[in-house]
């Protein structure tokens, strides 16, 4: 039976190496793509909010309301947090 464990151990070691390798490769590709995306959609610009807003011009107001929503979400989260930590 110990021999059997040995075989499974080998498989587990294999999983350890392959698994961590794939995790790193996968998230590494994601890093690359995220940087690419940021360059393309303009998120990296020195005053990044400006071009985006210009780009979306008509929708400026809506993005402001979006901000508002984000804030609402944050304050909701804080509210929840406070209640949890009472």
């Amino acid at each position: 039976m110990e021999n059997n464990i040995g075989a499974v151990l080998l498989e587990a070691a294999n999983l350890l190496v392959v698994g961590m390798g794939v995790v790193f490769v996968f998230l590494g590709i994601l890093i690359f793509l995220m940087k690419l995306m940021s360059k393309i959609v303009g998120g990296d610009a020195p005053v990044p909010a400006a071009p985006v807003n210009t780009n979306r011009g008509g929708r400026k107001v809506s993005s402001a309301s979006q901000d508002h929503k984000v804030k609402a979400a944050i304050s909701a989260a804080i509210h929840q947090y406070r209640q949890d930590n009472k």
Binding site: E2, I5, V8, L9, E11, A12, A13, L15, L16, V18, G19, M20, V22, V23, F24, F26, L27, G28, I29, L30, I31, L33, M34, K35, M37, S38, V41, G42, G43, D44, P48, A49, V52, R56, S62, S63, Q66, K69, V70, A73, A77, D84, N85
Partner: protein
Amino acid sequence: MDGLATLWASTGIANFHWQQLIMIAVGFGLLYLAISKKFEPLLLLPIGFGAILTNIPVAGFSAEGGLLYYVYHVGIDTGIFPLLIFMGVGAMTDFGALIANPKMLLLGAAAQTGIFATLFGAILLNFVPGFDFTLADASAIAIIGGADGPTAIFLASRLAPDLLGAIAVAAYSYMALVPIIQPPIMKALTSEADRKIVMEQLRPVSAKEKMIFPLMVLGITILFLPEATPLVGMFCLGNLMRECGAVDRLSKTAQNELINIVTIFLGLAVGSKLSADKFLTVETLGILALGAVAFGIGTACGVLMAKLMSKMTGGKINPLIGAAGVSAVPMAARVVNKVGLESNPHNFLLMHAMGPNVAGVLGSAVAAGILLALVGG
């Protein structure tokens, strides 16, 4: 008055097995942890209550036709409940901090070492008499190191349903214990100087980037790891609903009423797996021990990776934030912030730690996909 005799014959007192009493005590213990110690109460309270209900003699909660029988089979056997929770969590998650600093994904990757090392450890434990974990069991146990409740429940329901109760309890307990488990490891692996490092402000992130991000994650998961798409896909759906700005009423429902309803049922169903014959085994002790190991290794590897990155960037990264890579959102990030403040009372690391923190969620979903592809089905 043979009614009295019948009634007596149907009392709990006349029907208890001592194992059921112990499991009911375990259930009350979980309620205590949930309520008094605030250990992930949203899940541990219904889990504890479910554990009590399922161990009541005569009542048959988990027998065919019982309430918990239906809830378990409809929600967990099918995998639906953890996936809906994941959708709700996606709708609650702001990836801004990660998008501003994509390299943080490496910390989320490093912390998954906890998972794969524990898998190895679980098989090693088979040398101890009484343990006989298959590779599937070991994988389900190891995912505790992912510090992500729904991922653990989903994977356990696929690979080792018999261990599901113990795995879920361990996962949520350790997530609640993050403020106790992580700081000593973080301090042991970093110098005072390391911990004092102030990180530069994150760049602003546009709404468009936030909206494209979940689609991009979905895209590469489809290409490279389709086994992970149930988890990652539902997570991305929730996040897309949140960020696209066109379906706010759906997003709001997904992160409130829907996730609340599912949480109650998920908890009860997980609790229904805490039956004496499944839980009162030496394997449960092994699972609890391995879970702690998994958390420790994950934390350590995250911190070490952050230390490496700190060296390579000339000290621009505070190694503490590596600990947040295990996920346990947002607890781990808060712990990083607190430990950081102890060394430098003006150094707020919270937003910087949110990057690795949400990266850890993706990392463990990816790890779960790998395990499903290599060990499952």
